[in-house]
């Protein structure tokens, strides 16, 4: 019998109190509220750890950096205990033929039950020779491991969209995971890197509920990617009131005004930075006085300078798809479409404790 997450934590000398704290934090991150805590506790205590094969293609390893620095109270211990990382060439002890043998063993042992986590993407040009781990093109390795996987997680913007190596002219034909694995659900967790709590949240959800979280049309978990940075930005009242930073270090910058005019991509970027934040929720780019660079969006490298003012929202392809209301025409159909847009907007707010409508508190 495979060890549970809780077993592993106890072996490492972590107290039950810390474990419960972690469960509460995870429930909050997932937007599930306190009623979900017991279920998460139960799952982590009883279910075998999730076997994960973590592959690295064309990438910079920032996703791994983010993941192992997650702000869980027990930091990396919790995260690395939650999953049974059976193969990860960055942090595993094995090397060479031994490592490749471990990979085959894992596939055999957990056939149909393991998660394939891809960090980075495969280059397809010239038969994939621009990324050759273990003597074979990376794309072959991805397809081989994906064949018997339960689900695939595409970590980061590389695996989700292509990112910098796919920037024009994309000399190696770097290709996101969902375009090479088409017969399995692919959970896309974009960001460069993704937020650590979002990464652990996705894993915790799969482990707790035994299924993948609800995804949007781009394959992103709705619980983390349904709102723009701009929607929950603490500087938003300044945007609404037309109070902008005109240049870095001007008086308005000192007053904490909106960074739109100095290039902030918050209005077109779907991610949880403004609510979950970074580094144990200390801050996020806008909190430090720099605009969002839109790193969780498709092709963000090809959208001009990070400091260019966002002028053409529809140029952001993702934006055009994610939010399309459709043409609103006069009459009943138009009204229905408009009303639908509004109700979708409300849903995106992720209204909590809907059974707890007791009026103002």
């Amino acid at each position: 019998m495979t060890e549970t997450f809780y077993d592993v934590l106890r072996q490492r000398g972590i107290t039950r109190r810390s474990f419960l704290k972690f469960c509460s934090m995870t429930a909050a991150t997932l937007g599930l509220g306190p009623t979900a805590v017991p279920q998460i506790v139960h799952a982590l205590e009883t279910k075998p750890r999730l076997p994960v094969v973590w592959l690295h293609g064309l990438e910079c390893t920032c996703c791994t950096e983010s993941f192992i620095r997650s702000s869980a109270p027990l930091a990396s211990d919790v995260i690395l205990s939650m999953i049974s990382l059976d193969y990860d060439d960055t942090i595993m002890a094995a090397a060479g033929h031994q490592a490749e043998a471990a990979l085959e063993d894992t596939i055999e042992k957990y056939k149909g039950n393991y998660i394939l986590a891809c960090e980075g993407n495969p280059p397809l040009k010239d038969d994939g020779i621009y990324c050759i781990p273990g003597g074979k093109p990376y794309v072959e390795k991805v397809r081989h491991v994906a064949k018997n996987a339960k689900a695939v997680i595409a970590w980061g913007s590389c695996a989700s969209w292509g990112c910098v190596q796919a920037a024009k002219p994309n000399p190696t034909q770097a290709t996101p995971i969902h375009k090479v694995v088409t017969d399995k659900p692919v959970i896309r967790v974009p960001g460069c890197p993704p937020i650590a709590e979002v990464m652990t949240g996705v894993v915790a959800y799969v482990l707790t509920f035994g299924q993948i979280p609800e995804l949007d049309r781009q394959g992103r978990p709705k619980m983390f990617y349904s709102q723009r940075i701009h929607d929950k930005c603490y500087r938003r009242p300044h945007f609404d009131a037309g109070q902008f930073v005109e240049a870095f270090d001007d008086d308005n910058a000192r007053k904490g005004y909106c960074l739109y005019k100095v290039g902030c991509k918050g209005p077109t970027t779907y991610n949880a930075c403004s609510t979950v934040r970074w580094n144990e929720a200390v801050s996020f780019p806008i909190g430090s006085g720099h605009g969002c660079i839109g790193c969780a969006e498709d092709d963000f490298w090809d959208k001009g300078s990070f400091y260019d003012r966002l002028t053409d929202i529809t140029a952001f392809g993702v934006e055009a798809n994610a939010d399309k209301v459709g043409a609103v025409v006069a009459g009943a159909v138009g009204a229905a479409v408009a009303a639908h847009a509004a109700v979708s907007a409300i849903r995106r707010l992720g209204s909590k404790d809907t059974n707890d409508a007791k009026g103002e508190k």
Partner: protein, 176 residues
Amino acid sequence: MSTTTDAAPPGHALNPAPLLEEVFRRIEQERMQGIPILNRALEVEAVGFREWQGKWVGVLLTPWFMNFMVLPMPGTAWPRVQRGDTHPWHLPLGRMDCMAGHEEEFGDYHMCSLMSPVLQFEDHEAARIAARAALDAVMSPPRGDESPKGPVRKLAEGARKPMSKRDFLAGKLFRE
């Protein structure tokens, strides 16, 4: 996030809709010129402002955003929240975390962004319909299809059932 209900702000004795419209029209004229993400087909309109539990609530529609707004009435408790922090309002639909803002001309307000930018609307009428539908949705109890789905729904249903203290302490919630 510090929320204390100390001395109430002056508040608005009359429906603040005309004031909001006046102020945001001026903001549009004076501060939003040259901003390319405005929807020029839309105009500033305060939609459906009404009294709710001693507060004014409604949707503020402008060419650059559509927000749900909460404003104080005189003499009622008003949560003091630092600007940019949020306060959980328990509305008929459920909890909505609204962000505190302050504008010199009408004082404190809380807002929850529904949409921004608002480029998807072809004309003002469509945006107004959307604003009304959004406000109706917020001010009515949740419909079945707006509740959480899948395993989360099951959890929520479990939590709604009455439970004795003994069952709770015995961990009934996760046995089901």
